[in-house]
């Protein structure tokens, strides 16, 4: 991997922030876009745009083809069995809401249970809470250890005949923990319970094979995979997607409409009401192609190298405590420095051109678990470098000096 060359392909990385070269370490919140993706979206709007699945005219047919080619690319990327198991939507949150809504409508009733984990992003907690409120089902939570790992014994204790679905993250956004999802899926399936994986933080870092995982649902966001914002993917096993009721009503999701009775379109269109984010979907395909050209194996190796270097380097700072010390981690370092509020640290780092995320990372239960208001989170992508980690290190020394 030629990092210098790769960095040139990301226009935003060339800029200065507050007079300093930008060090972008907020990749877990959103990744930057390579020029090919930006160009693809611009080109689509400049030369190819039309509504899809409707017109007989050439532009519409061409746009439809590009859109459906993207579906095939996503199918191949995640190794789904069928392309109609790929539903395009707004992103991870949208995907979880679709499944949670469907479960509330069709499968959950009073006394049933839904299992999530203490590590979840709010977007994989709140939709299930809402589903539980509607149906009288109960939310059960897999607790975590001090290192930020699921207590698997507790998970097994939570599993019961009442469990109707398990919805957990593949990789934790707040701490970077790579969760033992295969164990969870195996245990769940032995009891006939479906599993939804929130893959938002996993897909930028590793190859994901939904058939090998045998998960029932997998959700992700395009913008975290170097693609456009506002586009995401819900993978669902055909069997499950057929069983779930439609989420939103509208155009494209119907077969026939009359005031007496509407019949719904087949998969995946049943879940794609209204004009979708066509440019986003097409841009996502380009992003996937781009990532695959570099290779997720190479990306993963390099990011692990950054993680190891960063962990070692930041640990040298006296008073710095890393939260999330699981053995298997994605390239995320969440930490606090010497009792300095994350907001204070983040403000000074920003002045130094270093973009980190500060706060609770939409995982308030994790912060409550550790009794902290939030953390500073540096999350690395394959375009980051060890020199940038050195800049963060120097920046943190400065922060420490300013607040001591």
């Amino acid at each position: 991997m030629n990092i210098e060359q790769i960095r040139k392909e990301f226009p935003i990385l060339q800029q200065e922030v507050n007079g300093k070269p930008l060090v972008y370490f907020d990749n877990a919140a959103s990744t930057q876009k390579p020029k090919v993706v930006i160009d693809r979206v611009a080109d689509y709007y400049s030369n190819e745009h039309s509504n899809i699945h409707r017109g007989v005219h050439s532009l519409s047919a061409a746009a439809t083809e590009e859109y459906e080619l993207a579906r095939k690319a996503v199918q191949a990327h995640f190794n789904a069995k069928f392309d109609h198991e790929i539903v395009f939507n707004k992103g991870t949150t949208d995907g979880i809401n679709l499944v949670a809504n469907g479960f509330a409508k069709s499968f959950l009733k009073e006394g049933d249970e839904v299992i999530v984990s203490e590590l979840e992003h709010h977007s994989n907690i709140v939709p299930w809470q809402m589903a539980c409120e509607q149906t009288g089902a109960k939310l059960k939570v897999i607790p975590i250890t001090d290192s930020g790992e699921w207590i698997m014994k507790e998970f097994h204790n939570l599993l019961s005949d009442r469990t109707k679905i398990i919805a957990v993250n593949h990789v934790s956004n707040a701490l970077g923990t790579m969760n033992p999802i295969t164990d969870v899926i195996e245990a769940a399936h032995s009891k006939g319970i479906p599993v939804l994986l929130d893959g938002a933080q996993a897909v930028p870092h590793m190859a994901v094979d939904v058939q090998a995982l045998d998960c029932d649902f997998y959700v992700m966001s395009g913008h975290k995979l170097f693609g456009p914002t506002g586009v995401g993917v819900l993978y669902g096993k055909e069997e499950w997607l057929n069983k779930l009721p439609p989420y939103q009503g509208g155009g494209d999701m119907i077969k026939t409409v009359s005031f007496e009775k509407t019949t719904y379109n087949e998969l995946p269109f049943k879940f794609e009401a209204g004009t979708p984010n066509i440019a986003g979907v097409i841009g996502l395909k380009t992003a996937i192609d781009y990532v695959n050209e570099i290779g997720l194996g190479a990306i993963s190796d390099y990011e692990q190298e950054l993680l190891e270097y960063g962990t070692e380097k930041l640990s040298q700072i006296e008073g710095l405590k890393i939260y999330g010390t699981a053995k298997n981690k994605a390239s995320v370092i969440s930490f606090l420095l010497d009792g300095i509020h994350p907001y204070d640290a983040g403000t000074i780092l920003d002045k130094l051109g270093i973009a980190v995320r500060t706060g609770h990372h939409c995982t308030q239960p994790v912060m409550t678990r550790f009794g902290i208001p939030g953390t500073v989170r540096a999350s690395f992508a394959f375009y980051n470098t060890k020199e940038e980690i050195d800049a963060l290190y120097e920046g943190l020394l400065r922060v420490k000096k300013m607040f001591s």
Binding site: H341, Y343, D344, T347, I348, K351, G359, P373, M402
Partner: protein
């Protein structure tokens, strides 16, 4: 007694001594450290101004038509900034506060802290102060 604008101008003057952001922030941090914080029991949810990242507590008081606020935050930079807001607005009438325009934040180069997306509680705090002022002025009538 100085007016709100005189107190703002005084702050702008103080900040004009600094050449770069670093010195400015060091000054804000020093002010943050100097703010006499609230005792733990006063840092209750009743007085909490909801910001996203740093928490701000604000306690109003009124004597003879003059308002006094005490503020605190768990982040030092925020504490320094809310300390400045309190310094500017305290010892004023509800009416003066309602009419005030806090231009100093922009003038001393801290405009970014006023953006609602910064979520540091400053915007909510100013709103809250004005709400208190409105309540006090309504009571006065």
């Amino acid at each position: 007694m100085m007016s709100i604008n005189e107190r703002q101008d005084e702050l702008i003057e103080e900040f004009s001594m600094f050449d770069d952001w670093m010195e400015k922030y060091e000054y804000i941090i020093d002010m943050g450290k100097d703010v006499i914080g609230l005792t733990e029991e006063l840092k209750s949810d009743d007085y909490l101004v909801r910001g996203c990242q740093s928490r701000v507590w604000l306690i109003p008081a009124q004597e003879n038509g003059i308002l006094q606020f005490q503020a605190d935050s768990d982040a030092i930079i925020t504490k320094g900034i809310v300390g400045m807001v309190v310094r500017v607005l305290n010892n004023s009438s509800a009416d003066e506060i309602l009419k005030s325009d806090l231009y100093f934040v922009d003038k001393i180069g801290l405009k970014e802290h006023l953006s609602p997306t910064r979520s540091n509680g400053l915007v909510s705090m100013i709103k809250k102060i004005k709400t208190y002022a409105l309540a006090y002025s309504a009571k006065a009538i």
